[in-house]
């Protein structure tokens, strides 16, 4: 079954490339992705939803004398593919000639196995999947009597077959899996309902945190902030707990994406080779790590993935490139194409040696941020601002819970101000970070 799907994906990609060439494309690339998805959501003792589907998509990039057009279609019938690809090639004539638009010149070697596929996950019994979600619902309620409701407990998995072929002679395919367990307990704090979300994800079933531990952590997060109030307004050290720290890394990825740098949307424009962050800032992008969620044997255009040091001891070493932006900006692809733009491999901040508890203990007066809402980053200027919740720290201890406040700063100052990095890095997403502390940010409460 699985080798059939992979072969079908590869054959379809190759056929699409042939159609594009015969429709007049001077070069073309086709990507076929087939994904079997499973999703069960439980609430209380019932299954709220059970989804099981197969998605199939074909993406084509067609080049005609330096003009580029893209296609995305789910219609893989012979006539459907033919018509859509011909229309794509025709659409390219409306695009400006761009000397940098072309296929890559060198590609990944075949046969790289990053162990991204877990047969045990695929063979898993349907009842066992359903039971994961139901058991999480039971466990969160058993943790604490103040947990009175839930926004749902989930188990999801996916088995994917990805194939790429192009007119430059590259063809490659790989299989991968991923699974996750997550839950959202609702606790009653007087009149106030507090929801927390916690979960675990990985390529393999065995990578997932076990159900009791997920339930314990989710319940703790839902009840920890009982009685939270606004912190004082002022400038304080801010500790970002691991999962929130990862959202800062998401923003940093946007800033080091060569596409954003080329389009004016990065505050890091003109700073390559300069010291931007503190010595504690070493950030790596690595799409070639075995078994990780951000890994793949080749990127979205068939280029080998690699380990790229992006910041080393605070110095911006490089932006992240696909083939197009590498050509345009005079660099080499770092294997970061996601097919239509630039994506991450495993993008992470190098961990330090302290535990989160030690970071807190070393902070006289400050804020521990456990969760943020909003997405206000103005990338051109590097302005960061979020709603937040967590704890106020006094004399190295969690003094009281805080919510309904904001934290703000300029990214340039935040990176320069990272003065302590935790040891708690884990690879449960493509973009991850250990906890870290920024020496000073503006906290706005009352």
């Amino acid at each position: 079954m699985s080798s059939d799907a992979l072969q079908f994906a590869l054959d379809t990609a190759q056929r699409a490339v042939e159609i594009a060439a015969s429709a007049g494309a001077s070069a073309a690339e086709a990507t076929v992705a087939i994904t079997h998805r499973y999703h069960v959501e439980a609430r209380e003792s019932t299954i709220a939803r059970l989804e099981r589907s197969t998605a199939r998509t074909l993406h084509v990039r067609a080049f005609a004398e330096g003009r580029k057009a893209l296609l995305s279609t789910s219609d893989l019938s012979a006539s459907g593919m033919h018509d859509a690809i011909a229309a794509t090639v025709a659409q390219a004539k409306h695009v400006a000639v761009d000397e940098f638009a072309a296929l890559p010149e060198s590609f990944a070697k075949n046969g790289i196995d990053l162990r991204l596929y877990d047969a045990a996950l695929v063979d898993r019994d349907g009842d066992a999947r359903v039971e994961d979600a139901l058991e999480l619902e039971r466990l969160i309620r058993a943790q604490d009597s103040r947990i009175v409701n839930s926004s749902g407990s989930h188990y999801q998995d996916a088995e994917s077959f990805t194939a790429i072929a192009n007119t430059a002679g590259f063809s490659g395919a790989y299989t991968s899996t991923r699974a996750s367990r997550s839950t959202g307990p609702v606790a009653l704090d007087g009149e106030v309902k507090r929801t927390a979300h916690y979960g675990s994800a990985g390529r393999r079933l065995a990578d997932l945190e076990d159900l009791p531990s997920i339930a314990r952590e989710a319940a703790r997060r839902a009840t920890d902030l009982f009685g939270a109030r606004k912190p004082p307004t002022g400038k304080f050290p801010v500790i970002f707990e691991r999962d929130v720290a990862a959202t800062i890394l998401d923003d940093l990825f946007s800033a080091v994406s060569a596409a954003n740098a080329a389009n004016g949307n990065s505050w890091l424009i003109g700073r390559a080779g300069t010291k931007v962050g503190s010595d504690a800032v070493t950030i790596v992008d690595d799409g070639s790590m075995p078994e990780k969620l951000g890994s793949s044997p080749f990127d979205g255009e068939g280029v080998a993935t690699q380990r790229t040091p992006v910041f080393e001891r605070g110095v911006l070493k490089t932006f992240l490139y696909d083939t197009y932006y590498a050509r345009k900006l005079g660099a080499t692809s770092t294997g970061n194409s996601n097919g239509s733009g630039i994506g991450t491999g495993n993008f992470y901040l190098q961990p330090g040696s302290d535990s989160l508890e030690q970071l807190i203990a070393a902070t006289r007066r400050g804020v521990l941020v456990l969760d943020t809402i909003g997405f206000a980053t103005e990338h051109a200027s590097g302005t960061y601002s979020r709603g937040a919740r967590g704890f106020f720290i006094e004399n190295g201890e969690l003094a009281y819970p805080v919510d309904e406040f904001t934290i703000a700063g300029m990214y340039a100052e935040m990176l320069a101000g990272i003065d302590a990095v935790g040891s708690d890095l884990r690879f449960d997403a493509a973009v991850v970070s250990p906890s870290f502390r920024v020496a000073e940010m503006t906290v706005s409460g009352n």
């Binding site: 059970l50 893209l70 859509a84 409306h94 106030v192 002022g234 503006t442």
Partner: protein, 437 residues
């Protein structure tokens, strides 16, 4: 189909086809779901089998039904101006982008980059259900979006503007791309000159039009019926209670001509409706889809929406707005001692159960002693839904819907929506800038 402009050139053309069938089987509170983008009979049977697993897993129910007689129902209204995506002249789309690029650069020499795209989509939906109802809807959607970046060699700032709706490219004959691009460029130059926003609690003036993001986040999401049926929203069980100052009235309307959130029928085949959510501060009702309405013993309000056949319908907002009050903009500004005037927002988010929300300023100004004194850098505002709504102390007489470019995300599904609002004053809210003495 879509075209993208950067560096003054048409950088990329793209088009896409997404086609398939989604099958939902409902049993009590449970829904089984499967979709297939392979339309062969075998694939459809397989999907139906996967979707109905829920009925076999979960519960007692009637079995043995043998076929349903479908009856075609026509949508009673047509809110859309027909699009022409299929077969439209590509050169017309390209011309829109090129005109926008020129206009943005002409607006101010500090404009250093212009990124723009135009997307024209046509969604054709057939909805059939076991009640025998069969409905068709064909929904156009065009969007032109312009982002400008300005720089004075020291500071950089960006500005965004977008417009369009459930209409055709002819919309831009009346609403010129030059105007839209000039607006993006104007905001970018304002943001170059902007100073650090203040930190702390202060008065806030929420701008008309795009200020409606506040209603969408602070109140709207909390009134979607799935959260209320499950009791996870802070508005659960509070219909008939006071949830806002008596100046606050909020509607959600799926029936507005050409608006992004409008639907002739929703994704369960129910006609779009005008709903009173909050009236003079009193909570009047929730936005319902069919499943939650049945479990709450009420009727669907035509709020069952989905991104595509790949997703289950959810109760969602359509076009959410506040009607006119009686204050003038001048009187609201004049009465503000020290505060923030948020003319437009870049987006927002809410945490449903406690009601804490944020929204992000796209264009904002400091107000001192009744006068606008300085443009402010982007900042996040944080508040609590019912708390902020109780602190609404003035509602302007200038209500209008915002330019049409808003998209709402929920549970991983993105649907187009509209927002609108008059100028509104909130007596106190927390502004998350960096400036603090």
């Amino acid at each position: 189909m879509s075209f993208r402009l950067q560096d003054g050139c048409i950088h990329e053309a793209s088009h896409g086809i997404s086609m398939g069938v989604g099958i939902r089987v409902v049993s009590g509170e449970s829904a089984g779901y499967a979709y297939s983008d392979d339309l062969s009979p075998e694939a459809l049977f397989q999907a139906a089998d996967a979707a109905s697993l829920i009925a076999r897993t979960c519960a007692a129910g009637t079995t043995g039904e043998t076929g349903i007689a479908l009856e075609r129902v026509n949508a009673a209204q047509n809110l859309y101006t027909d699009g022409e995506s299929a077969g439209a002249d590509a050169a017309k789309y390209v011309a829109l982008l090129e005109r926008a690029d020129v206009a943005a650069r002409r607006f101010d020499p500090r404009v250093v980059a212009v990124n723009a795209h135009v997307t024209d989509e046509f969604q054709k939906v057939w909805i059939a259900n076991s009640d025998g109802r069969l409905v068709y809807d064909a929904r156009p959607m065009i969007t032109l979006a312009v982002q400008a970046v300005a720089s004075d060699h020291k500071e950089r700032g960006s500005g965004f503007a977008g417009d369009g709706g459930r209409t055709s490219i002819a919309f831009f004959d009346e609403h010129s791309p030059e105007q839209l691009a000039a607006e993006a460029a104007r905001i970018a130059t304002v943001n170059v000159e902007a100073v650090a926003a203040p930190a702390g609690e202060m008065e806030m003036i929420v701008g008309s039009g795009g200020g409606g993001v506040l209603l969408h986040e602070a109140v709207g999401h909390g009134l979607e019926s799935d959260f209320n049926r499950r009791g996870t929203s802070l508005y659960s069980g509070r219909v008939g209670e006071r949830v806002a100052s008596d100046l606050v009235t909020i509607y959600d309307d799926g029936n507005l001509v050409e608006e992004r959130g409008s639907v002739n029928v929703d994704d369960e085949g129910v006609p779009g409706q005008h709903k009173v959510l909050v009236e003079n501060g009193i909570l009047r009702g929730y936005m319902q889809d069919v499943l939650n309405a049945r479990l709450m013993n009420v009727e669907s309000t035509g709020s069952g929406r989905r991104q595509s056949f790949r997703f289950l319908p959810q109760p969602r907002m359509c076009n959410t707005y506040m009607p006119n009050g009686t204050s003038t903009f001048e009187s609201i500004l004049g009465s503000t001692k020290r505060g923030l005037y948020a003319k437009s927002f870049a987006g927002g988010q809410v945490e449903i159960s406690k009601g804490d929300f944020v929204f992000m300023i796209g264009e904002g100004y400091l107000v001192e002693n009744g006068r606008i004194t300085a443009p402010l850098k982007n900042a996040t505002i944080v508040g609590n839904g019912p708390d902020a709504m109780t602190k609404v102390v003035a509602v302007g007489n200038d209500s209008h819907l915002a330019r049409r470019h808003y998209t709402c995300g929920k549970g991983g599904q993105y649907v187009p929506v509209g927002v609108g609002m008059p100028t509104v004053k909130i007596s106190s809210i927390t502004v998350g800038g960096t400036h603090h003495e």
